[in-house]
Amino acid sequence: MADIALAAETPTAPPTKTTTRGGTTLWRYVLIRFLLIFPTIFILVTTVFLMMRVTGDPITAALGGQLTPAQLAERIEAAGYNRPLIVQYAEYLGGIATGDFGTTIDGQPVTEVLVRYGGATLELAIYALLVAFAVGIPLGMLAAWLRDTWGDAALRVFAILCYATPVFFAGLLLKLVFSVWLGILPSSGRASPRAELQLGRVEGATGIYTIDALRTGNPALIADVLQHAILPGIALGLLTAGVFLRLVRTNVIGTLATPYVDAARSRGVSEFRLVRTHAYRPALIPIITVIGLQIAMLLGGAVLTETTFEWMGLGYQLSEFLKARDFVAVQGIVALLAVIVALTNFIVDIIAAFIDPRVRY
């Protein structure tokens, strides 16, 4: 992530020669950018596949020592892990292309795991992003505005602290304060047991509790779900908020130093408006790009957050599968993450292209 920050802190180069060449349109760009998703996914999936297999077949990895050699051999045979790696690889790729991510050691299709727990992680990520946006962007603008004053220094240190505090430590402290000492917020889980039971019974449940709770229209249920989301959302959100704060600050300062801001100033545009409009919008472009990369960090952080708060999502499952050495499941989840990361980056680039009239390939 260090580099993410760097990349985005590189000045938004003032638009230099912008030639619209050979009729390259935005749509062409979208198409090309879309096609680029596939090599990315392909490489990630391949990397993961190879990493998972250098140690041997998944059955031995997970069950070796618990089964007799004969039983092992039988299961390996049945699962086809005794075939040449390249064949398995081809089959694996084929599976992914058709949406089949394999089966876990205890026989669940990975897709089922993904469907079941994906919603929870998505929900957590959204809460975290909300916190990150709500904290990072205004404070970042404030810091840019207060640039080189004590207020700025304090905000910057706050940003670094957000980033420097491991999610699990932050989670621990939050729990200590809000659950143990103040006793006002629940310490773990996505809802209290009874509420969870009710949510599970909602017709056509999405697995995203906030939505399910809203659909029941039961205020107690909604409150319960929201209460449970607060601490995990903050713990994970602050991590990203720190990064956003820094990014917004540097980019707004960067754009504040550009001649067009000076030009606007010379026209009598108010200082507030300079920060709010002239500097912020161009500064947003690198920020949006970084959000794409933040998704990766967010998912990594989700593993820790979900473990700390027992948020039954993909991150939590992933760490369980890793502990159990269930490499097929890991491979599947990771492949899904690869798809998500690649897709988010795609979407983010497209959004950036729409916001920034200059980006054209």
Binding site: S266, V269, P282
Partner: protein, 546 residues
């Protein structure tokens, strides 16, 4: 003259910047006034305080600056102005036009919006009305189809158009004073001529007083009514424009005017040597830059025929983007030739491999446009100059090459101890001289010089050009001299080639091409070039007008 006819009145302005390295006294007690409907030009070398003065007029100095004295613009004392009142003054009292139009426009907002924003900061009017005014303004500055184009983003306009938009932005608020800081420096001569016309029109139509900052004496001669010469933060001379050019009083002014290259059209065609094999011969040369992701490539140079004989200086002129640098780089083997033939020092460059080329490199020198960036910041000047020797195996270490390096530095009139300095410890002119020395290290038969003086001040440029001329005569190398300044070509080149849109439109002896151009484009180029003589320039302008 009564005060209300003065649009700007500056008395005893003094500006100091606080820095760690002590105070920088940028402007030292200057007096200045501009009447309504008057164009006052401020000239002077780089760093003389022109920009600082201009910015003071709008109260745009950074916090670290302390200004004293009185600056009364449109009846308001700007120095004392703060906060909301300063904001209200900016734009309506005085407006500013910046040097680089592309950076003065916010890339992510439509231009119409940007103009309207200024209007709405000053008047309480509806969005729609503001937009209507913006469109009007765009029409006035000559943007075709303004209703539609108001919605376009800055990058969708050409450089000249962008400068027009910037001017429209400034004019939209009806300021009494327009401050223009080098408004045409970034533009081609033909575009520059249009913008100068527009400014003149603005003055006539709106009665605006204009403070024009420039270092181009041609521009001064073209537009200014009065001129103010600055030198090291002080005004050394103020005079009406004809007077200044006719009889400059201050010594500095005289030196400045003397350094300005003029189009005199001297016949300097190279005699003899017709039968010697040319060092460069291009036939139907074509260079295409590859496109991205299978998009069609960009044809920067097409069908160029060109010859440079030994000892000959060929001036290559043309507007920005016409392909001048591309040809120069192709000759040096830095850009791949994609079609036709290009023979350099007996090597066919089309399809050449770097390895084949390397032994012939010693016959070629290259002088880059920006002296600052053409030196590795981590190596001493001596090491840089010695590098060709080491690379070509004529010396093994920098120390071994020292003698030769000192000779070379002397040739370009740099003291020998400069060899131990780092590039950033040299001034721009000195660096360019070192760069010349490096190009000459291996006594090449051919030198490619890509706008070697365009980054320098006129006075520095004059010294470097003089030196270049001397060296060329002394070493007798052939040279491709790339420039956009016709006057510089006139000074140096034996022959001139005019490039337009990647094609050579005219080629021949300097006197012939510049004196009696046959091609309409060449003619336009020469006509658009403002001459540093107000009387002559007024005539040329009159002649140009239909």
């Amino acid at each position: 003259m009564s005060a209300d006819h003065l649009a700007v009145e500056v008395t005893g302005l003094d500006v100091t910047f606080a820095t760690d390295g002590g105070a920088v006294h940028a402007v030292r007690g200057i007096d200045l006034d501009v009447r309504e409907r008057e164009v006052l030009a401020i000239v002077g070398e780089s760093g003389s305080g022109k920009t600082v003065t201009a910015r003071t007029l709008l109260g745009l100095l950074p916090e670290t600056a302390t200004a004293s004295g009185a600056v009364v613009v449109s009846g308001t004392d700007v120095v004392a102005l703060r906060g909301e009142r300063l904001r209200a003054f900016r734009g309506s009292g005085a407006a500013m036009i910046f040097q680089e139009p592309m950076t003065a426009l916010n890339p992510v907002f439509p231009v119409g919006w940007q103009i309207a924003e200024g209007i709405r900061s000053h008047e309480k009017i509806s969005k729609r009305a503001a937009r209507r005014r913006a469109v009007d303004m765009l029409r006035k500055v000559g943007i075709p189809d303004p209703e539609r184009r108001a919605n376009d983003y800055p990058h969708q306009f050409s450089g000249g158009q962008k400068q027009r938009i910037v001017i429209a932005q400034a004019l939209a608020l009806g300021p009494r004073v327009l401050v223009a800081d080098e408004p045409t420096t970034a533009l081609d001569v033909t575009v520059q001529a249009e913008i100068l016309d527009l400014l003149r029109q603005v003055r006539d139509e709106f009665g605006t007083a204009i403070v024009l900052i420039t270092h181009n004496m041609g521009v001064v001669a073209d537009l200014a009514d009065r001129v103010c010469v600055m030198y090291r933060g002080e005004i050394v001379e103020t005079a009406p424009v004809e007077e200044l050019f006719r009889a400059p009083q201050a010594e500095y002014t005289r030196a400045l005017l003397a350094a300005v290259p003029r189009l005199e059209i001297a016949d300097r065609a190279l005699r003899g040597g017709e039968d010697e094999a040319p060092v460069v011969r291009a036939r139907a040369l074509e260079i295409v830059y590859p496109g991205r992701f299978g998009a069609a490539g960009f044809r920067a140079v097409s069908g160029v025929d060109l010859e440079i004989r030994p000892g000959e200086v060929l001036g290559l002129v043309g507007e920005s983007g016409s392909g001048k640098s591309t040809i120069g780089r192709a000759i040096a083997g830095l850009t791949t030739v994609t079609g036709g033939s290009l023979d350099v020092l007996g090597v066919e460059m089309n399809g050449v491999r770097e390895r084949q080329l390397r032994p012939h490199r010693s016959g070629l020198g290259f002088v880059f446009q920006d002296p600052a960036s053409s030196f590795n910041p981590l190596l001493t000047v001596g090491a840089c100059v010695a590098e060709p020797l080491i690379v070509q195996g004529e010396a093994r270490t920098v120390a071994e090459a020292e003698e030769r390096v000192v000779d070379l530095l002397e040739a370009v009139r740099l003291p020998a101890d400069f060899a131990r300095r780092y590039p950033h410890e040299l001034s721009g002119g000195q660096r360019q001289r070192a760069s010349l020395a490096r190009a000459l290290t291996l006594e090449p038969r051919l030198v490619v010089a890509d706008e070697p003086t365009s980054a320098l001040d006129v006075s520095v440029q004059a010294t470097v050009l003089g030196l270049f001329q001397d060296l060329q005569e002394r070493f007798g190398f052939a040279c491709l001299f790339i420039t956009h300044d016709l006057a510089v070509v006139d000074l140096l080149a034996h022959r001139v080639a005019v490039l337009h849109g990647g094609r050579i439109v005219e080629q021949g002896a300097t006197a012939q091409v510049l004196g009696a151009p046959t091609d309409p484009y060449t003619r336009r180029l020469i006509d658009a070039l403002p001459v540093p003589d107000p009387v002559l320039q007024a005539e040329r302008r009159a002649a140009r007008r239909p």
